[in-house]
């Protein structure tokens, strides 16, 4: 308690960082995610092998041959090589899709919350419409119609995921636009666009950052689901594709599906630990929950 007075004048961001730094599960999440990112970016420098190459007998168990520590899949492809290359697209699509989700969601929510009236009415009806479409199915349709590539997949995921972000942004804007500093900004003649992006948005960021983190997790699961169904880019190895390709043989060999699944799980788990940590850091009062 004693150092609370010492930091009373520091910025909210610094205070949040101080809280986050003490959150063991969140730091654990950062460590796992950092490890996964480093392995997918640089793993191939230390580990030879192409994920698509048939290098050994099919369905060799993990630990049987030292060269292939996690075994081989139904075609005799190296699982470790698949895990190292397959993380890249999953993370890239997850990140890009989360970015697209946030851009659409924040723009829609900010305009609706700030202007209110018919703008709000119209944009919220559009949001409700998109919430009616089952997201994965709609994404499947988009990817099939416009041929799968990493970009179409990221855009498809973004197009189906933004409504929740829009609702959250709108709620924050409705709350913040009534505050005195917004009235003050208006009084000194700031234009609407300036008030929206420079005055209100920065103050609405904390819950949006938490939501963005969780969106990354959801987007990764989405990408994995699409690739599992065989709707990903067929020329790019990904964790979901590894599971989907080996699905027929699960009763003969458990390892080709188990390890990529664990990789997806740990990635999303790490992201959600970070999200929870950020949430606690931005809302110290809610920590007890």
């Amino acid at each position: 308690m004693s150092n609370m007075t010492d930091h009373s004048a520091e910025s909210p961001a610094l205070e949040a960082w101080r809280m986050f730094r003490r959150n063991i599960p969140a730091l654990f999440g950062v460590a796992i995610l950092a490890l996964i990112i480093v392995l997918t970016l640089y793993g191939q420098l230390f580990y030879d092998g192409d994920a698509f190459d048939v290098v050994w007998a099919p369905h060799e168990g993990p630990g049987v041959t030292p060269e292939f520590p996690l075994g081989t899949d139904y075609l005799g492809r190296d699982i470790v090589a698949g895990l190292l290359t397959g993380g890249g697209p999953t993370l890239a699509v997850g990140g890009a899709a989360a970015l697209i989700t946030m851009i659409i969601g924040i723009s829609m929510g900010a305009l609706a919350g700030y202007y209110g009236g018919w703008v709000d009415n119209l944009l919220m009806r559009v949001t409700e419409f998109f919430q009616v479409l089952p997201a994965l199915l709609f994404a499947m349709v988009l990817v099939t119609l416009f041929s799968p590539s990493l970009w179409t997949i990221a855009i498809a995921i973004g197009v189906v995921s933004w409504p929740q972000t829009a609702r959250l942004t709108r709620a924050e804007f409705l709350k913040i636009k009534e505050l005195e500093y917004v009235t003050a900004a208006r009084a000194i003649g700031a234009r609407n666009s300036r008030i929206i992006w420079k005055v209100i948005l920065p103050n609405a960021m904390p819950p949006l950052i938490v939501s963005a983190t969780l969106t990354i997790g959801v987007a990764i699961l989405f990408e994995a689901g699409l690739s599992f169904l065989g709707l990903g880019d067929p020329n790019v190895m990904s964790w979901g594709l590894m599971i989907g390709a080996n699905r027929e043989y699960i009763l003969d060999a458990w390892w080709p599906v188990t390890f990529p699944g664990l990789a997806i799980f740990f990635t999303v788990f790490a992201v959600s630990l970070i999200g929870d940590g950020l949430n606690d850091a931005f809302n110290p009062k809610l920590r007890e929950r």
Binding site: V132, P134, A224, G225, L229, W254
Partner: protein
Amino acid sequence: MGMSFLLRRLSYGLLLMLGVVVLNFFLIRLAPGDPAVVIAGDMGGATEEILESIREEYGLNKPVLTQLWIYISGVAQGDLGDSFFFNQPVAKLIGERISPTILLVITAQLLSIMLGVVLGVLAARKPNGVMSAFVSVFSTIGYAVPVFWTGIMLIILFASTFPVFPVEGMQSIKLRNAGFFTQALDIAHHLVLPAFTLAIIYLAQYARLSRASMLEVLSSDYIRTARAKGASEGTVLFKHALRNAALPILTVAGLQFGNLISGALLVETVFNWPGMGRLAFDSILRRDYPTIMGVLFFASMMVVVANLITDISYRWADPRLRGRT
């Protein structure tokens, strides 16, 4: 419950469905290539004769607005076009597969809400107890596991190690002609693993949500009053607290329904459950667009209906809302 409220919600639902139809219409036309070829599906290589009949049926040579009108009035009469792969009307194809999906989705929804609420309520009794820790760990894990992978892991586990539950399909072939009760039991037996797989994610969320919501309610004045009156712990928890904590759960249950259908799509594919999701997956591999669009239409309709039911039960659960329209 006011009639005008119901009417308004119903017509809004219809408007949303009209939106889905218009979206379907434009999606087909936005796709690269000749819409007639897109509709025919590019698996078999449609003959010029088939393409001409599609152009005729959909009025593809007429102005876009006329085409839209032809399409909308067709859907209004239950005509969602024909699947050129199955050589059958799409509405019929989906009609045969919609009940397994509804069965799976509703079972999973009930399972996750009931188990989730029980877990959450138990956890809320001791905010720092073992149960609370379990709920928060479990909900983080539940959020992070890909649903199709859970299904596969359960199949591996139950197919060889503990062969208690069937891991594929909805009915045993040898029981197809058995009595109603035997068949129902057989379907229920097949339903266990898919429903549980689908329920796990949402179970975790409901547990976490009902714990938070119960904690808030339990610290309120009327709970202290109920306790002071000498009401038993069970009455306080389940009669006074849960009824008030139920509103956020209901809201989320309604909002989650679309995600549940998305999850069902993957679960049906993993367990070979003969529902709409499986049909959508097969149709996408065959590029059978009329069927895919039909599934999108029906799946959206299920969400609209679920939202309607949520709205109505919300008013039932919260008497304060009943006066409003």
